[in-house]
Symmetry: C2
Amino acid sequence: MAQHGKMSILKAYLETKGLKSTAQRDFIADTFFKTNTHISLEELLSKVKRKNKNIGYATVYRTMKLLGESGLAIARQFGDGQTRYENLPEDGHHDHIICMKCSKIAEFQNQKIEQLQSEAAKKLGFTVVNHKLELYGYCAGCAGGDKA
Amino acid sequence: MAQHGKMSILKAYLETKGLKSTAQRDFIADTFFKTNTHISLEELLSKVKRKNKNIGYATVYRTMKLLGESGLAIARQFGDGQTRYENLPEDGHHDHIICMKCSKIAEFQNQKIEQLQSEAAKKLGFTVVNHKLELYGYCAGCAGGDKA
DNA sequence: ATTATTATGATAATAATATTCATTTTCAAT
DNA sequence: ATTGAAAATGAATATTATTATCATAATAAT
Ligand SMILES: [Mn+2]
Ligand SMILES: [Mn+2]
Ligand SMILES: [Zn+2]
Ligand SMILES: [Zn+2]
């Protein structure tokens, strides 16, 4: 989806919640929509401050929380103690594999896995709303050196 | 495995690391080995203090870290911001499904999923060392009331 | 028993996240 | 355009889980 499309969705979401549009929010959201990584708040704040020096951490934090709630951003935790956000993927849900040496992150989709998850849950009487699947290992570049 | 078996393994592990055996460590480990839940440090400390009031948080923390390193305990994070530990399962690795309403946790094993994970990783040039799979949803008891 | 090494536990430091609050901004009504 | 209630901002502070510090105590090899 294009930037302006996401902006419209955000505006609509704010309206339904009785929240107001502000220059800071728009700028933070716009900056985030342009990213294509799994960005931490610290990184996003730094990026935002380059153009708009007087935007505070709290506003970035609150804006990303809003984007998360609206579904425009997905919060991820890859075990390094920092929440990261990524843009809502075009092609639907995906999971991640993280290199334990160089921290490279690859994404994959596997419909069969998703289906088996639902089945496993069903057997236990659960219905699945969402899930977290992260694989940790070594990427092609790092596998040679140290597999421990 | 029985308590004394785990204790022996722990003793052996301590020895290889040049660490010493202490009454506190033994008591904390013993208390943990008797649990069959996913217990937080706070909960474990509370349990320990009932019998041994002057054991400190730091010792519980350090002992569980040791148990984790030795493979006798597995650290889990279910998204509530607290690390939880569970005993090394008898029957090998398992994954979890957590009820978003009552926090009930069910466990399951699915070899097919594990295999598909490895295959997905291989396609991306990764080798998998470990993984985290958590399903979030509603248990049988909670599904009726509020599926949102 | 001596003694070097490690453990303990109270306390403090970290670090990420969340909240407070005085001030500023938004926006609908006038 | 002005007003004013409601919400947002940002600096600072609070919270929370985790980790480190350090003086004292316990361990275990000699
Ligand atoms: Mn991703
Ligand atoms: Mn478990
Ligand atoms: Zn790598
Ligand atoms: Zn439930």
